[in-house]
Symmetry: none
């Protein structure tokens, strides 16, 4: 467990907490370690979750199988990322998705009840922890809403323009770089990569924007 302290220090959950304090908190939070083989299910749809998890090693897929058996990958979890935080709520119902290790993985479990119940003197960083989760969820909330606003655009062109113009706003400049390659951007916007590449070229030909690799520049018309 000790060996994960350095990793944990860099996570959003333990942001602002020193390594030593983290170690003492791990006991307080009743932290557990579990390992999963490649292909093994960490959780299945319908299970109750009473822990907050952080992936220490490996890679997980959050995926879903529908009524007729079609599979869909919703999210990929990488080391240091937290998951299950949306299930902290009491009576939040059962998990709607499956969580599968797509590599040999190590997951840290933190008891939800111990996170929520502040143990007065023992853990001075407990309120910090709750605050961190609160901010993380709140941030995530907003970025989810933003993503939805891109995805709700009907055409690939409009999805691109709404995303890129938001990025321009965010960078306060009409030139900026994006954190995605083409395939990732296509996945993020839920469109076909080649169709998107096509649309990007068209936008460039029309003089609306310019790009080299991940560097984009929006042009006035």
């Amino acid at each position: 467990m000790k060996k994960y302290a350095a990793l944990l220090k860099r996570t959003k959950l333990f942001s602002g907490v020193g390594e030593n304090d983290i170690l003492s908190m791990l006991h307080c939070l009743n932290a557990q370690v579990r390992e999963y083989n490649k292909g093994e299910y960490a959780f299945r749809q319908g299970e109750y979750i009473r822990s907050l998890m952080i992936l220490a090693v490996g890679r997980l897929h959050i995926q879903k199988e529908d009524y007729w058996g079609n599979l869909n990958i919703l999210n990929e979890i990488r080391p240091g990322e937290m998951f299950g935080e949306a299930y902290i709520v009491p009576n939040s119902g059962t998990l709607m998705n499956d969580v599968v290790a797509i590599e040999e993985s190590v997951v840290l479990f933190f008891d939800i009840d111990r996170i929520l119940t502040v143990c007065s003197s023992a853990c001075p960083f407990h309120t910090q922890l709750i605050k961190n989760i609160f901010y993380t969820i709140s941030d995530k909330n907003k970025s989810l809403v933003q993503k939805i606003s891109y995805m709700s655009q009907r055409s690939t062109r409009e999805k691109l323009l709404s995303y890129l113009s938001d990025e321009a706003k965010r960078h306060n400049s009409n030139s900026f770089s994006i954190p995605f390659n083409r395939q990732q951007l296509a996945d993020f916007l839920s469109v076909d990569r080649s169709a998107m590449s096509n649309e990007l070229s068209r936008l460039r030909n029309e003089g609306m924007l310019d790009f080299h690799k991940n560097e984009f520049t929006l042009r006035e018309l």
Copy 2:
């Protein structure tokens, strides 16, 4: 204001707080009441929000309209539900969506600063309040993720199937009713209404499901 105490007692925000305590907290939180006619905007995109709201009566849609008038319903608020809580975080910027009353509605406003500043002895339930907000954000997070999982499907057919499949799971039955009419469902899934109607008919002809108005039944194949 007093007449809403019974309602508030059953809300997530005041969960675990008695009616008498709620009444004394209303003053502490500087609670205000505002009424909206059907179709009236409670908030518009770009406004600053410094309150936490609870819908007392009626129905609200949190929605976004793009340049060409395509509407996307992000969420439907029903009596007792809280909204605006994601903007509690400092420096969270302006509202990204519109909030519209789709029925004659009554909204209660609570001063955010008074919520965040715990007034020690005065309000013994203040920490409970913050905890409750935390839970609510967490819940919304979950439903946003669900919505994204529907919208990320490439075709209208897949969007419908993933949504309906989830509703069946949620109701624990292959028969259930949905809270949308056709246009609202189309907006929720960000697809064209007529194309969606078309697809629904096709799915029915193929024997995958059945529906009458808002009542749906999924069929094994």
